[in-house]
Amino acid sequence: MNFDKELDARGLNCPLPILRAKKALAEIPSGQVLKILSTDPGSVKDFAAFAKQTGNELLSTAEAGGEFTFFMKKK
């Protein structure tokens, strides 16, 4: 999937992936896509909840070898 910015949140634990994502989203214009890498298993539910509450769209969630990849489109 195409993306405009990437955030490496691997090794970070709650709530840092969400806080870093919020900051990264603030640095891109509306409609652009942020790719997020995380190793925090809790981040799967957290990013879904973050998207629901902020209106940013979670385009996809994938897991491979204990690593999670999210694509989020800025509102």
């Binding site: 634990n13 709530p15 840092l16 806080l19 190793t39 925090d40 973050f50 509450q53 902020t54």
Partner: protein
């Protein structure tokens, strides 16, 4: 949609109890909540310029696992809990436990309290210190970080009365 609001009263002054208010406040801010934390009694420790006094104590805390943050897995899995009477007489026990806790925190990619506190401030979480307890404990405003406001219970209610979430920690 109106902006959601959250208010927290932070009353505990130990390293472990410093986490819930700052984690919840920084996350709420990231989710778009207007957020305030009212620091009172021992919670004032969380907004001092010098956070080195924040410690965690296993004494009288049966819920705290005592595990080593280093070594092979079998060693890390050992639970070192011991009777309160013994913990109480070992000099420096709290300092050692705090050092081990900080190591565990770092190993797990958990943010430090100074970092979480800065993140809250960057996200415009409003910090209010209880003026009554500031005086009660003999603190000066210069003991606390910049950007604090000082007020009493009525100041807290002014904002808390309009919140969607209000927590006492």
């Amino acid at each position: 949609m109106d902006t959601k609001k959250m208010a927290i009263i932070a009353t505990k002054g130990t390293l472990d109890w410093a986490y819930p208010p700052f984690i919840l406040a920084s996350t709420a801010a990231a989710l778009g909540y207007e957020t305030q934390i009212f620091f009172t009694f021992y919670g004032l420790q969380l907004v001092r310029k010098d956070l080195s006094g924040l410690k965690v104590s296993p004494l009288g805390n049966p819920g705290m696992p005592m595990k080593m943050p280093f070594g092979p897995k079998w060693f890390k899995d050992i639970n070192w809990n011991m009777p309160n009477a013994i913990q109480a007489i070992i000099p420096g026990y709290e300092t050692v436990a705090t050092g081990l806790m900080k190591m565990t925190i770092a190993n797990n990619g958990v943010a430090t309290i100074p970092d979480l506190r800065s993140l809250c401030q960057e996200a415009d979480v409003k910090f209010i210190a209880c003026q009554m307890t500031v005086e009660l404990f003999g603190f000066e405003h210069s003991d606390f970080i910049d950007g604090m406001e000082y007020g009493g219970a009525a100041t807290f209610f002014e904002f808390a009365g309009e919140t969607d979430i209000c927590l006492f920690i």
